[in-house]
């Protein structure tokens, strides 16, 4: 199976482009850096190119079959959604949220600074 693929590369006829808008170009760059680290499992069958245009993260996908394009796209969108949600943990936002929690009467009581000993 693998040998058939390497003989002649199949044409990547199926393409699509996603444009994802962010508040700032820095945010788009952050997501680009976080998502361009991992290699595609079979780059000769499906791959993606990422770039930033203004406030947009632009992702261009290519695949040898339509089904593969869909799965690559779907895996990528899951990761984008996850990366987007991490903006809620930006320092200022998180500190604010932690402080709000602290001031609530039902704030969880914790026992930090404990050294575990068995």
């Amino acid at each position: 199976m693998a040998s058939q693929r390497t003989e002649e590369p199949m044409p990547m006829d199926h393409e699509c482009t996603l444009r994802i808008k962010y508040d700032t170009t820095e945010q788009a760059h952050m997501v680009l850096r976080a998502l361009s680290v991992d290699r595609e499992l079979a780059p000769e069958r499906a791959n993606k190119e990422l770039r930033v245009e203004g406030n947009f993260l632009v992702a261009h996908f290519k695949a040898v079959e339509f089904r593969l394009l869909r799965t690559t796209l779907s895996a990528f969108t899951e990761m984008v959604l996850l990366a987007n949600r991490t903006f809620d943990l930006a320092t200022d936002k998180l500190i604010q949220e932690l402080q709000d929690e602290e001031h609530r009467p039902t704030a969880a009581t914790a026992t930090p600074q404990q050294k575990p000993r068995m």
């Binding site: 945010q27 952050m30 290699r39 996850l82 990366a83 320092t91 969880a108």
Partner: protein, 365 residues
């Protein structure tokens, strides 16, 4: 929002905080069906260690994509919880650590994406951590074991390890499936619940076992094998349960006695080889009290001591990743964001244990 500063790993320089404060790390773990976040200091103090386990219905195991989805759903909430429990904010953190491998790719990558984002958002360096080394270091710091022979037993790994010449060397290991995988899969055959853990269910049932059923005992030199044993008991279980010649409890008891005896045998040989008197058991299976009792009996006979922990630190957790990453970080090591890839295969002995570089090799001194 500062992007991650560029790092050079050319000439690592040892780090220490100049303000006299302890170095603090946050660690993210997600190599299997648990996702965890821990916050620790360089002296081993654990400020927070929260985790969530992906539990599937009885008779089923966890699959990569579903597990990754579970981790994506919970990882951010766990991070918030960790800060809350630790009474800290991202400003208190010096370094962000994550599991680079070994483990299952999809869940590993999901957690790594979060770590890469947070490193940029918080302007903190990243350290990639070997999951197996993290189990060992967590065990050492919690039990105060100095230089033990380590039995690392979990759903994905089974290794007998000792420190020699700057690395954790593998003296013996499974040649097929991990012991935890063998137990988990047998639990599936018996349709036992996966909550809180399939191995825990087997351990409880085994306590009521009355009859020992002889099973294949497969030790090959320093290595062990569980896959043939699992096939054997799986096939016979169906027949014996139908004919009522054995109960589920008898089967669980016999399985535990057999596989644990194999593990104790190779661990004893490693102790003799290394002239060591300390044994540390780590990994998810390490919280099995029957395994601890059998190991303790062997170690005591040799005049040694057993170091074991409970499920908070045995089972995959974020604190072990944070602590081990911190040990590396203090030696000047960081992982540039472009190198924060995950790897399914990452052997324990691939990692130079720089923080123990000055130590004498011989265990048990």
């Amino acid at each position: 929002m500062e992007p991650t500063p560029p790092h050079s790993d050319a000439a690592p320089r040892k780090r220490a905080r100049t303000d006299g404060k302890r170095c603090i790390a946050i660690g993210f773990e997600g190599s299997a069906n648990k996702v965890g976040v821990g916050i620790v200091a360089d002296d081993g103090t654990i400020f927070a260690n929260v985790r969530k386990t992906y539990i599937t219905p009885p008779g089923t195991g966890f699959l990569p994509q579903e597990t990754a989805r579970h981790h994506r759903e919970h990882v951010l909430e766990l991070a918030k919880q960790a800060f809350k429990i630790a009474h800290m904010t991202p400003n208190d953190i010096d370094v962000i650590c994550f599991t680079k491998g070994p483990g299952i790719a999809a869940p590993l990558v999901s957690v790594a994406v979060v770590v890469r984002m947070l490193a940029q958002l918080w302007g903190k360096p990243i350290v990639g951590v070997n999951h197996c080394v993290a189990h060992i270091e967590m065990g050492r710091v919690v039990t105060r074991a100095r230089n033990p022979v380590v039995l690392y037993v979990s759903g994905g790994n089974t290794q007998v390890i000792a420190f020699a010449q700057g690395r954790y060397r593998i003296f013996g290991e499974t040649i097929d499936i991990a012991v935890g995988n063998c137990l988990d899969r047998f639990a599936r055959i018996l349709q036992l619940p996966n909550e809180p853990a399939p191995g825990w269910q087997i351990e409880q049932l085994a306590k009521q076992g009355k009859q020992f059923i002889e099973l294949p005992y497969v030790v090959k030199g320093m290595d062990v094998s569980f896959s043939g044993l699992l096939s054997n008991i799986s096939k016979r279980a169906t027949e014996m349960l139908a004919a009522e010649t054995a109960t589920k409890a008898d089967l669980c008891f016999s399985l535990q006695e057999t596989v644990f005896a194999m593990l104790v045998e190779v661990t004893e040989r490693a102790m003799a080889h290394c002239h060591s008197s300390e044994v540390l058991i780590v990994g998810g299976v390490a919280c099995n009290e029957r395994l601890q009792d059998m190991m303790r009996a062997m170690v005591t006979q040799r005049g040694g001591s057993l170091c074991a922990m409970d499920e908070r630190f045995c089972i995959d957790n974020g604190a072990m990743i944070a602590y081990t990453g911190l040990l590396s970080f203090l030696q000047g090591q960081v992982t540039p964001i472009e190198q924060t890839t995950c790897t399914q295969r990452y052997r324990t002995d691939e990692v130079p244990i720089t923080w123990r570089a000055g130590e004498v090799d011989e265990p048990g001194d």
